[in-house]
Symmetry: C2
């Protein structure tokens, strides 16, 4: 589901939108972990049986990248994103397992025009990531720099 | 530089340690971006010239995964990590470019034994990531679950 690209002017506090779902595979979990989070419970199915979750789980950093990419793929930032300056209050609330299907809901929390350079502003977004059982597996807040419409 | 693995008991507020440095390559930036952050300024050298940083930059999510892996590779969490429940106040303070070399300094901010399950506790760590010019490129706080020594 592609959305219309949004500029700073188009974001309104309280607005919500949702991404398409994405499948999480065992191979992707292991590949990501080998490069960016080599803890045994993200890397090795057998060793994960004795780990804190009793089985293989996705790196929380991978879940974060997947969630961001879902949002990006809605098209909402197409041509307007200038990157982000930070994240706040990221919480991993339930493990993500191979075979899960995740989707992200986004809510506009706040917006603030840059006082230094008013061609852009910060849009503060709250993300809630659900699995196929509608359990919340992660929440996170992003502070994105978005161009003003010209 | 391998450190002695630390259990919950071994972390003390105010303690600091530092990781080995790591090189950031153009190929890795593009490969990561293609999967987890497909914004043109992380994905395409030519398009990035017209982007917010004037050249190709690392996805902040990749910088985060690299920083975590540096810490993991010190050995400090070896056998004691039970994952993390969240991150706070992540800030991307300067862009990370192909060819940069990053290292992470870690400071113990706080520790709290679990009241529900006192075989583990939260250790709150502040990470500061530097490039080869000693510029701070990222800071982040992690809330890690660490086993108590048995």
């Amino acid at each position: 589901m592609k959305l219309k690209p949004k500029y700073f002017d188009d974001f309104h506090v309280g607005d919500c939108f949702e991404t398409e779902p994405n499948f999480i595979s065992k191979d992707e979990i292991i590949d990501f972990a080998s490069k960016y989070d080599p803890q045994t419970f993200h890397l090795d199915e057998d060793a994960a049986k004795n780990g804190p979750f009793g089985r293989l789980t996705s790196s929380g950093f991978m879940t974060l990248g997947k969630s961001f990419t879902q949002i990006f793929n809605t098209n909402v930032f197409n041509g307007s994103s200038m990157g982000a300056w930070g994240l706040d209050e990221l919480r991993w609330t339930k493990p993500v397992y191979p075979g899960d299907t995740l989707k992200t809901q986004v809510e506009v929390l706040e917006k603030k025009l840059s006082s230094k350079n008013p061609i852009k502003g910060t849009v503060r977004l709250k993300q809630t990531v659900f699995n196929q059982n509608e359990d919340v597996v992660m929440t996170w807040i992003s502070n994105s720099m978005i161009k003003v419409k010209v």
